[in-house]
Symmetry: C2
């Protein structure tokens, strides 16, 4: 089994001497503090007061603290109580370059940018004159290997919902032998009835997260509180491999996981098709992020693509959290080296706007079928354009690979030192995670880390995920590992 996670490389914790050398390496963002600054418990009194005020308007339970974005810089987020935290959660993995990147700040001063901010077009009807050029220099310049088509959307859920729609149209068109919908299709669709509203389904995986609008939520299976009380579509759900770590010590077990999951996918598709709910698409994350940073092997995904194709379904890869460089490649699925591209690849978060790439077979032939008022936002596309230039100029994918190696090696050293507390260190690039012995320990570690100036996020039942910006460097990894080591020592 080719190991997707680099978790099998074992590095010793860097010596203090070496660490100092790394820390003095050229910083990718100037103006960052040398280390976190903590003045109060976090959330501090100002955050607590504001959170209380916000709760009069809407539920504010999910608020961690209020931020001062003007004072935030690079990998550091300032809060409203004078604290400056090293941020390895980056707004749920949605900040590519860090806060107030000087090149972005300069870019938004231009009249072109300001014009775009205040004149938001209906992109599908009156696109701006440079729209084609803008798509080419941004989204198409970083398209997944082999993909040349893209449609823009607003957010991750919207991107997935529309990728499903493209798959449904493709599937029904195949069933009609390439013909357009019949008069009966059109008429019955207006009543939400078959054949116009067919009983098609999307197969998803346990532990997955694909968003929260209804079709997405029916494919999301990470936490019950996201789903409970909401009507859902009765679509098939397959198990996703759950590996044992270190990977190189559990090769047989993990390979068996792959095979069992694939067999179940196959069986679920057959069963669903037999009961008249054809599986039009199989939807998968390269790494199940919200669900616990669950990795799977290159072989699993390669076989999944093959199996999906044989079943006549579309293979949709949801790169909303994994896309845009965090794994050390632009798209996480590039690590799989598939024989052909996925059918549809969705994105959002660090890309500023949503959307999906698609193969030519998924090009919708009629207008207004994949459509909405805004279809994205050209001002976000312009920010992406600048951001991608900085990623190339500063070699940020390479930087992410290097920083990720230090981070993962450090996590592995910590799991060796504290095996009763943490285990299963894993990662690709800086997209790293470690699992705690239980949820109480995990939550306690997150709170303690925050109070010593490190902002991190949890995922799954008891995991900690690292989701830093692309300007996260080895020196930042060292600070985190030092403090995490100190926190683990306290238990």
């Amino acid at each position: 089994m080719t190991i997707l996670s680099t978790a099998h490389h074992r590095w010793p914790l860097l010596s203090s001497c070496l660490r100092r050398r790394f820390c003095s390496a050229k910083r990718l963002v100037s103006g960052e503090p040398e280390a976190p600054v903590v003045r109060t418990a976090i959330p501090g009194p100002n955050s607590l007061r504001l959170k209380n005020e916000l709760s009069e308007i809407q539920n504010s339970d999910s608020v961690q603290f209020f931020a001062d974005y003007k004072k935030s810089i690079g990998n550091y987020i300032a809060d409203v109580d004078g604290n400056m935290l090293l941020d390895v959660y980056s707004q749920i993995a949605s900040i590519p370059l860090g806060y107030n990147h000087p090149d972005l700040m300069e870019a938004v001063e231009s009249t072109d940018m300001r014009t775009m901010f205040i004149n938001r077009p209906a992109l599908g009807v009156y696109p701006p004159k440079d729209h084609v050029q803008s798509l080419r220099s941004s989204l198409l310049a970083v398209a997944p290997p082999g993909m040349k088509n893209v449609t823009t959307m607003m957010c991750g859920s919207c991107s997935n919902e529309n990728a499903f729609k493209a798959a449904f149209i493709w599937y029904r068109t195949k069933q009609r032998g390439g013909k357009e919908p019949t008069a009966d299709d059109m008429r019955s669709s207006m009543q939400n009835q078959p054949p116009g509203s067919p009983q098609l389904s999307v197969l998803s995986f346990h532990g997955s997260f694909h968003g929260r609008t209804m079709a997405c939520l029916s494919c999301t299976h990470s936490k019950a509180i996201h789903k409970v009380d909401m009507p859902a579509l009765d679509w098939p759900v397959a198990p996703f491999p759950r590996y044992k770590y270190p990977l190189d010590q559990h090769t047989d077990y993990n390979r068996n996981e792959d095979q069992q999951c694939l067999a179940e996918v196959q069986q679920l598709i057959e069963m669903s098709n037999q009961r008249g709910r054809d599986v039009a698409a199989v939807l998968v994350e390269p790494i199940q992020a919200e669900g616990g940073d669950n990795f799977a092997s290159k072989e699993f995904f390669t076989d999944l693509q093959k199996l999906t194709k044989q079943a006549g379904a579309a293979f949709i890869v949801d790169e909303v959290q994994t896309g845009c460089g965090g794994t050390g490649k632009m798209w996480a699925h590039e690590h799989w080296e598939l024989p052909e591209s996925p059918d549809l690849v969705t994105f959002s978060k660090k890309m500023y706007l949503g959307g999906f790439y698609f193969k030519p077979e998924f090009y919708v032939k009629q207008g207004y079928r994949i459509f909405n008022t805004w279809l994205g936002d050209p001002s976000k596309l312009a920010l992406l354009d600048v951001t991608l230039r900085i990623i190339r100029r500063d070699n940020l994918l390479k930087n992410t690979q290097i920083a990720g190696r230090t981070l993962l090696a450090g996590l592995q050293a910590l799991e060796e030192k504290y095996p009763a507390l943490v285990h299963s260190a894993r990662g690709l690039g800086t997209f790293c995670a470690i699992t705690c012995r239980d949820v109480t320990t995990r939550d306690s570690i997150l709170t303690r880390m925050r109070n010593c100036g490190i902002n991190m996020g949890g995922c799954g039942e008891a995991s900690i995920r690292f989701r830093p910006m692309l300007t996260f460097q080895t020196c930042h990894a060292e600070i985190i590992l030092d403090r995490l080591s100190a926190v683990l020592k306290e238990f």
Copy 2:
């Protein structure tokens, strides 16, 4: 029957003399041309070339022309072929103040604004320090009468999907006697099965448009091409009144329409509840816009709210297209003078970001249930804040009432002059429409109007809708009426 549309007021076409006086009235946006400038057929050669290039990337059938937003000003949109069109479609009703409004242009120069553009937070987790203040001075300052709670979202579909979710949570919580979900609810929801994933439904109306993500699309019944080939939820759909115009000549017929539709709503709710698909919410637009600018009376909506309440369902008013002043009031449902506010009011488009207002009963008690990564965009909220100040300062609601009266009176004069071509002139504020004898005539009128410099939109089967900005004045209405009169003469 209290007539909601002002269509019963009959004004003569203004004399040329009076018209000149209006045209010389103070312009709300400086720098606009005196009249449209047309140099080529529209779309012109540059638009056609760009449209062809775009079609290599994605379907571009819906593109009307490519715009030059830097050259656009106020009510006028510039295209890439040197044409300058008077725009009464305003990006599918989503531009509040017109293009490049000088106050907006100035506002986005500030460091605060630029900081917001490049640092987009996860609003539900790390809101910016001025977020509470920003909600108060923007969204809450214009909240529908009696409403004090609001949640921000990204777009119209997202707002509706989340309003449904708030209604489902409220409904299930009522069923549990106020208790939180049980362990069985939680467990079964992870499998998309009842009781955790209940068979609840949302009742919508034929002719409605509520967006295009799956739950929204199941409530959308305006055009089959939006729906066909997509799986849909088997939710009840009621008829919406279809009035005869002029209203004052068809009082009995129209009142009967109201009563028949209300009776059917009642019956559909009972049937749906009986077959175990409880109607948790009734969803309605104040004016069915995409579906043909179908108006209904104040009595209809008042009775609908009452009936919905008696059935134990939530009353959701979708103000995505009608909200933000186009009808001469901030919210179209204010015209109904309801005894109490709707339960949920959704918005987007001219508000820059999406969201929904809700009554205290719909305040969700647990965090992360109405949630997503971005939960809107504070940079859009900041634009809204400036925009609302300009609406107040320049008295734009009053302006819209005045300009709307001229527009509607002119349309009525035209239907009297060309009864074989157009009929049923109707409107509230500048939210006006007229219906053509058939779709061919409608499309031909739209094309001819565009080629004489007026950008308009169609809706429903054969209607033309007017959806100008709030800076649309009597002088603009006069230009449109003049040209429409000339176009109708050609038939």
